[in-house]
């Protein structure tokens, strides 16, 4: 642990961020493709938590804190390694009263997860893979 670098804080918003020059949205996480059949779960070293002081959900990593917005927290709460991405999007669609198979919501969920996979916060189990018995969230 470097004494001057302790603990970067990241913004884990579900909104697509503009590129540094303010033009198109950031698609840097686009390398990871999240499929509808993938079953996402939190990586083993990551914990989903709530900060009363900030009234925000938070992802805790060994040296990083990711501050989530409400929709991000809603997505991650469903990432249990059993539900597929399609099921998560459908469940959120009902919750937010969107039309069935809303492409905007679907894209938002998949891009958000892709960003977290790139940062190794979320793991994708293949659609055909059965989730093992390991608990997905410690506490």
């Amino acid at each position: 642990m470097d004494p001057t670098r302790n603990g970067p804080v990241r913004n884990g918003s579900t909104r697509d961020r503009p590129a540094p020059d303010g033009s198109a949205p950031d698609r840097s996480a686009g390398e990871v493709r999240v499929r509808h059949s993938d079953r996402p779960r939190l990586a083993r070293h990551v914990r989903l938590s709530y900060s009363g002081t900030r009234q925000r959900h938070i992802l805790l990593l060994p040296e990083t804190v990711v501050v989530l917005n409400d929709s991000g927290a809603g997505i991650l709460a469903l990432c249990d390694g059993r539900r597929t991405v399609a099921e998560i999007a459908a469940e959120l669609g009902t919750r937010y009263r969107r039309v069935p198979d809303d492409p905007v919501l679907d894209g938002e969920v998949r891009r958000f997860l892709a960003r977290l996979v790139t940062r190794r916060c979320v793991e994708l189990l293949d659609g055909s893979e059965l989730p093992d018995g390991r608990e997905h969230v410690d506490g």
Binding site: M1, D2, R5, R54, L61, P62, E63
Partner: protein, 363 residues
């Protein structure tokens, strides 16, 4: 003013090792009156109330505290992510089991080199094999493992072997951190600062490894600020996101800040919330109002916050100057000179190091 995210709890400065690159303070005798278990547990609750989410347990060697389990449990009960930063000496299977039960989330083990002889020489104690064993225990108990290596002139040429070792022990993260020149490292700077050629070679290796290991291991590489055009964004800004509590209860924005001529503020005398919000040591350089030129009018002032206050103080005698590492600093020549010396042909690769003593008053 934001609330802090992380607490660095420096439980003791005692240590069974004697690394010459250690960033711990030189004046260790000022920190021998260590906080007790109940005091730490109270500090952790106060920190939680302030908004702290992560607790890094460090030192010195935190395992030398017999009450480490109770302190970990306090942080865990306060809902924090708990991270043990250790040399791994003293991490027996039994101790590890107890720490696991107390709620410890993550373990970072530091190693001095990839081969036993060099590692033990830098550590000043036979320790390499015990570290490897302890890493096995960490993995066995299912903890995520970070391997920490401080890079310098005497081990940076081995960065490929260090990465191979990280793979071998099954690390989830490896942090290759170029030495930051504070404490004992500053005293040993001439023997520790690598040459430009050494750095270039290491960076090529790291870049390739990062690509190759992308799905398996996080490879963190901390660049050496003496070789950068701009300074590091030290601590993400003075007293902005992190706080440090030293073994005797002093509260600081970062561990190195103990060297600055600022009035001390301790948890034995004051509530943590007051210290964070109002004590002079926290407010001295918070934000951008304190900045002199060239920082004051620079468009990077919210990106690097003018660099490190401790480094400015160490190198210029004035903590409120631009970090001399910045090429725009009027004091940049002092850094230039040190870098030039490190690149002289005649400079030996293995100059003698001054070991850090194990404890105050008994070198």
């Amino acid at each position: 003013m934001d609330s802090p995210f992380g607490l660095l709890a420096e439980l003791t400065y005692r240590c069974p090792l004697a690394c010459a690159y250690c960033s711990n303070p030189l004046n260790m005798e000022d920190y021998t009156d260590e906080l007790g278990t109940d005091e730490w547990r109270r500090v952790l609750v106060e920190a939680r109330d302030l908004g702290v989410l992560q607790c890094h347990l460090s030192g010195g060697e935190p395992l030398l505290r017999r009450d480490l389990e109770e302190i970990v449990a306090g942080a865990h009960e306060a809902g924090m992510y708990t991270n043990l930063v250790t040399s791994a000496l003293g991490l027996s299977r039994r101790r590890a089991d107890r720490l696991r039960a107390a709620g410890l989330d993550h373990v970072q083990v530091s190693i001095q080199a990839d081969e036993p002889a060099v590692s033990d020489t830098i550590a000043g104690t036979p320790s390499f094999h015990r570290k490897i064993e302890a890493m096995g225990v960490v993995k066995e108990l299912g903890w995520p493992l970070t391997l920490n290596v401080v890079l310098h002139r005497q081990n940076i040429d081995h960065v490929a072997d260090l990465l191979a070792l990280a793979e071998e022990v099954g690390a989830d993260r490896v942090e290759l951190a170029n030495t930051q020149y504070y404490g004992w490292a500053l005293r040993n700077r001439a023997a520790l600062l690598p040459s430009r050629a050494q750095l270039a070679a290491a960076e090529t290796v790291v870049r390739a490894a990062r690509e190759r290991l992308r799905d398996r291991m996080d490879v963190v590489y901390v660049i050496p600020d003496y070789y950068s055009r701009y300074p590091k964004p030290c601590m993400g800004g003075w007293a902005s996101r992190q706080l440090t509590v030293t073994p005797n209860g002093d509260v600081l924005p970062c561990p190195a800040a103990q060297s600055l001529p600022l009035p001390r503020a301790g948890v034995r005398e004051h509530p943590l919330s007051w210290i964070w919000a109002e004590s002079p040591v926290m407010t001295a350089f918070r934000g951008t109002d304190w900045m002199p030129d060239p920082c004051r009018s620079c468009e990077r002032r919210e990106l690097d916050f003018g660099g490190c206050r401790c480094q400015a103080f160490q190198l210029t005698g004035d903590a409120a100057r631009t970090d001399p590492v910045c090429h725009l600093s009027p004091d940049h020549a002092v850094v230039d000179q040190v870098v030039r010396a490190a690149n002289e042909e005649a400079r030996p690769a293995d100059a003698l190091l001054v070991p850090r003593p194990h404890r105050a008053g008994r070198p």
